[in-house]
């Protein structure tokens, strides 16, 4: 091996090594911060371990929204037209949060079987359906 080639080899090895570390760290950061999406039926069937941070999507059930009298705590039911779950959230709901509107809630299941959401997302176009919800509802309709 000529000295020039040797030098080149070292540079390439260093690059591969550096890139490997970068990719490794990135993948690690990624795996720690992924939120899996579930439908309400999956959650209701107990497919989700308690305490794991997930996203749940579905329609807000008509007449299910209950505000607490003295705080910003709110409960509502979410459904994919299979099994519904109850979501609890404290805070201000987005403008487009309405009954019979598709929303996504992010949070954890507690041991009472209630979904404790720390974030509720509703999209700003009323005809727009997040692809996750559309697909999970389509699956539901097909399986019937």
């Amino acid at each position: 091996m000529t000295p020039k080639r040797k030098k080149r080899l070292y540079i390439i090895l260093a690059l591969v090594f550096g890139a490997g570390i970068a990719v490794g760290l990135t993948m690690y950061a990624l795996s720690q911060n992924i939120n899996l999406f579930y439908s309400t039926s999956q959650v209701a069937n107990g497919e989700v371990p308690i305490g794991t941070r997930i996203r749940v999507g579905g329609m807000v059930v008509k007449g299910s929204v209950k505000r607490s009298k003295d705080s910003l705590q709110v409960n509502f039911d979410l459904t994919d037209y299979g099994k519904p779950i109850t979501v609890s959230y404290t805070g201000i709901l987005p403008d487009l949060f309405r009954e019979e509107q598709g929303i996504i809630a992010q949070g954890k299941m507690d041991d009472q079987g209630i979904f404790q959401a720390d974030e509720v997302l509703a999209k700003h176009d009323e005809n727009y359906m997040p692809p996750e919800i559309a697909e999970s509802m389509k699956k539901k309709a097909e399986s019937k």
Binding site: L25, A29, L30, I34, H124, P131
Partner: protein
Amino acid sequence: MIPEIGEFSLILAFCFSILLAIVPMYGTIVKNELWMHYGQSMARAQFFFVMVSFICLGYAFATDDFSVAYVANHSNSQLPAQYKLSAIWGGHEGSLLLWALILTGWTLAVSIFSKDLPLDMLARVLSVMGMVSIGFILFLLLTSSPFERYLPRFPADGADLNPLLQDFGLIVHPPMLYMGYVGFSVAFAFAIAALLSGRLDAAWARWARPWTNVAWAFLAMGITLGSWWAYYELGWGGWWFWDPVENASLMPWLVGTALVHSLAATEKRGVFKSWTLLLAIFAFSLSLLGTFLVRSGVLTSVHAFASDPERGLFILIFLAITIGGSLTLFAIKVPNVQSESRFSWLSRETLILINNVFLTVMAMTVLLGTLYPLLVDALGGGKISVGPPYFNAVFVPIMSLMAIGLGISVTVRWRDTPLDRIIKAIWKPALASILIGAVFPFIYGSGFDFSVFLGIAISLWILLTISLEFISKFKHADSIFTKLKQLTMSYYGMMLAHAGVAVVAIGITLVSVYSEERDIRMVAGDKATVAGYEFEFKGVQKVQGANYTADRGQIIVRDGKNVISTLNPEKRHYSVKNNMMTEADIDQGFFRDLFVAMGEPLDGDAWAIRIHYKPFVRWLWYGGTLMALGGLVTVADKRYRRKKTIPATNEASHA
């Protein structure tokens, strides 16, 4: 009639873009000067017809022509006049037309301001830009014509513009952002032209640089405006969400930043040539990818329009042709490219290389985080989303390292710098910034905080090193004024942009750590204290706007005894679409914002109220603006206007 003229001129513009793509390029192959010259007039014709088309759409909006489907879906007779015009780009079709207008506008600008470019080079650049506009105008004509009619029964009134978009932000944010996105097509065209001609020297870099800097500056401004708009209009006081579409604009900006720096090295020292080309190709490809992500509706995002797979497919094919074609060309041609000079480890070249590596790594991690959900879904792994902690975890360390490198780079010369000279120049600012950074959280906050230490130290580090470097320029100057005049505009631009980085870093650090936020249930007369400010809720009144009704709250803010502000947040109801909208009210300040927004009405005449205290939040946008200004100032540099006297024919035979 008018909309048909619009459609027709779009078709004409398409024809001219085909001619533009073929004729001048063919001219460079057969070395026919006349054919090469045609590029300029075709660029003009192309721009003219897209402009006519754009004006026709504007006319349809201005005259409430609801027989045009796009107008009917995005406007309403009650809509205030300025929003009727900005509604032109309030939806998919119109914003693409704006995109095409800006693209042909850039093409026109290149044909006008590049008179000193060798004729064959200009012909190639214009041809490549013509190819890009073929793609976009075809996309408009085939899948997204804004001129389609609702016939024979069209609605009596329009469906109204999304209330979120009825805002000053819509008037300025998309055009700025598109100027940036599309501006990278010029850098791309220069890169392709360089590959085709094999001409890749300092002169080439000098031509490409001002265009790249301007595009970069516009993109910086567009992103800054977007962040500012999201802050006050989306209603919840956030300024960056790591939303896929935000990422889509950030990726080309990161790669563009790398490109701006590596072009400098290519111009001054003749190094990193092939790397510069690759960056130019990637900056534009990422702009296209951004369009794909926004338009195809594959990702859940604030910006997503109702999806249309046909459109997504078109852009995907376009993207594949652009990236595939240009990378193939790159692979064939680039082995001929050689560096013109050498440099040592301790040199500005090395630091620019490090800057480039960091910026590309950042762009790659953002890309990974953005596309990972798509990838997992395509492989059948289910629907997932990647949260902001991922992006923060990779962004903060890389950014900090970059900032350290930035401070060193200003003291390092091209080619080679002795180590003792570097150490002599940096030990004082390094020590000062570490000390002040360590003390700052005790004075401003309540105790030590590592993020604050890091953020303040690196910001000070940048500010101190660049100021010291600036002052050192005057050491041997006879008079300050002559020296001020002697320094080039490029130098001032660089200083401004780098100071902007420090200002943004201060803003991000302080607003992230010291923000206070409370959501509370309030009845008229209730008081709440946030960050030492007392907020008194006075109740709610009904008010009538141009095309909405609103509940307007009144909140009095006191700082101890004195009333410092009365805020009037609104909860608006837009009747046409039956939409609710939160309109926050903000007491702005240089050092802090007080932000109040109303949630929903609760039982017992109470309201959910959100109160934010946001220290230094404006510094984010001041810094972004400084960067953009810096980018624009460099263009005024005299050396870009120096006339070349080499006759064009010489250059043509050179190819």
